[in-house]
Symmetry: C2
Subunit: 369 residues, 2 copies
């Protein structure tokens, strides 16, 4: 069965060796598995950048959202107040999670095509009742926009608040100085830029901030502190880990190193993205974001202003040719998305855009470059 | 690399074809993946037995404990009261989860070597403030004991309460008439008797009981009703699903059918268990449970009364020979456990017990048969 290539924000196309690593059943309490978990936790901390020795890596079963909820539900104490800067669906999701947990939460809203403005975060942190915690998304997968984590972190730090960053779709693919950006809790997941398969998320937590979470969690399953304590005590997960996804991730981390670490991977993603932008512009597609706000992770394109363009048909025709793209998620605009992460290369972008040309021609959709 | 055989309660040894099914990357919003999820949900409902048409299957990312927490946190309303019958660690875990969620919970405690007594459940349900919900574990993996779900379900039904059953380590391996036992919510996970890989749990929920959960969940990630609604609306998970584990599970369900369904699988597990009991008795090992309470899933054996027996060495020596057994989890007794589920057969039990003989002989541990 020939594989389709995934131009999605994850689950994404993984390397054959990553999938091959799942061809074994390991016991979750067996020494080899425990060693794999240890290797992964060390590998993640080494990606944090300078000052990484102050951080702990904690793996959490489930999707990335589960890991986000474990951080919010374990870090914000009763009586805490959370500010969430929002310019897309994943920022809004953090608000939804916090509100469901009964946490006093304020949403600081930005347009979906504008980055979060650190000055407005700073103002919000100094107006009215103080916030104990502040959260932002690094790369909003909704659009592909990059938010400026460093000045936001400085503002949060000056206000004496704890800083939570959803780096789901960027960590491992875009260099980020976790300590330098004053991050207390960073969340990502296995099936994003590290190019593993889905099954768990992970948290890079400043050790001193993590230690303050003891006894705070609203949930047993999503108790970040207890999960850390369990991993530290005997190296085991408290509850059944996704052993195969963990083995795949160990291999994925090795491949990240072989590619030259985060810098090397970012270079490939940037090359993928540049090839995509050139080819799509040549066809007349208009990106949703201004170039200076755009990440190399995923790119949003407006639907062509042509009545013959129907996204569902476009998607299906590309899928039949072996290329899976991604629908849009904007509140108001009709857009679709193309991811440039995973085990894909500029030549794959060339094959994808050639297929897009074919599909448009067959549908009689002419664009004006 | 040669595979070790896992004599554990899961993650367990899976078939080569189940692992092979993970050699593909599918998009989580792609039609083929959505069809796989639909096939799995139908397959699970078909295992519920007669009256299955009144049930819905909902998949939840994470370990089985996450699915348990999603049921408790989504089904018991504010002001509800939960009775949990406990004769092992997994019953206690349900109490811990409910208490963490702020649910008024009462623990009805039994000895770890005695099944839950339906008459005592009945009495508890009719003493004092009424309970809205009652929960019990079907097969307590702590010991391998089987609890009598049918009379307990009758008692819960007479009391007008909602019945939650943790059938984590039994569902698919021991016949269970879900509707006949008056079960409202049954929980199990992918890496148990259906012989998939870990990554998600699932809930079989009586539709009318599930419909009453709307808006009750304490968590966004573990909102059972919202998860169901999402799967029903567009066939998609709300949050990234473990795509590879799902494909493995689809294959595992096909293999369950090929083996003759739950009855066929139970016959093999029973043959595994009978072979284990015979061989272990011949060596002089003493099982912890009386035979009439013992499931064919996992068996607890007491440490031999021989000062030369050290469990860690015993475990390691068996592991070096390619056999992974499981430590004990009893509060008071020194025991170990041997699972008889997964892609293992009576001949494998023979190889395991031959290795046990060797290891004991090498350590100079003589037993008295």
């Amino acid at each position: 069965m020939s594989e389709k290539l995934l131009f999605t924000p994850g689950p994404l196309s993984t390397s054959p060796a990553v999938k091959q690593a799942m061809q074994r059943d390991l016991g979750s309490r067996d020494a080899e598995f425990i060693a794999a978990v240890r290797e992964i936790r060390c590998g993640l901390v080494s990606l944090a950048g300078p000052g990484g020795e102050d951080y702990e890596a904690v793996l959490i079963q489930g999707s990335g959202t589960f890991a986000i909820e474990s951080v919010i539900g374990s870090a914000v104490p009763r009586g805490g107040r959370l500010l969430v800067a929002v310019n897309g669906a994943y920022g809004r999701r953090m608000v939804q999670i916090a509100e469901r947990l009964g946490i006093a939460t304020e949403e600081l809203l930005f347009a979906e095509d504008e980055p979060v403005d650190a000055r407005r975060v700073d103002e919000a942190l100094h107006s009215g009742v103080p916030f104990t915690h502040a959260a932002v998304v690094h790369c909003e997968t909704t659009t592909g926009i990059l938010n400026p984590i460093e000045p936001i972190g400085e503002a949060v730090h000056r206000a004496g608040a704890v800083f939570l960053v959803d780096a789901m779709s960027s960590f491992g693919g875009i260099p980020l100085d976790v300590a330098g950006c004053r991050i207390d809790f960073l969340v990502s997941s296995a099936n994003k830029c590290i190019q593993g398969v889905p099954g768990f998320g992970f948290v890079l937590a400043r050790r001193t901030s993590l230690q303050e979470c003891e006894g705070l969690a609203r949930s047993v399953s999503l108790d970040l502190f207890a999960q850390w304590r369990g991993l530290e005590t005997d190296g085991q997960f408290r509850f059944t880990p996704p052993t195969h996804a963990i083995l795949a991730f160990r291999r994925a981390l090795q491949e990240l190193q072989e590619e030259g670490g985060v810098a090397g991977r970012c270079a490939r993603y940037s090359a993928n993205h540049a090839a995509l932008m050139d080819e799509m512009a040549a066809m007349g597609f208009v990106p949703y974001l201004r170039r200076e706000h755009q990440s190399p992770i995923i790119t949003t394109f407006r639907y062509p202003a042509n009545p013959r363009f129907h996204f569902d048909e476009f998607y299906a025709a590309l899928s039949r040719r072996g290329f899976v793209i991604y629908p849009g998620k904007l509140t108001r605009e009709n857009c679709f998305r193309i991811g440039t992460i995973g085990d894909i290369f500029p030549a794959d972008i060339g094959r994808l855009t050639a297929a897009i040309r074919e599909v448009l021609a067959e549908a009689g959709v002419e664009l004006r470059p």
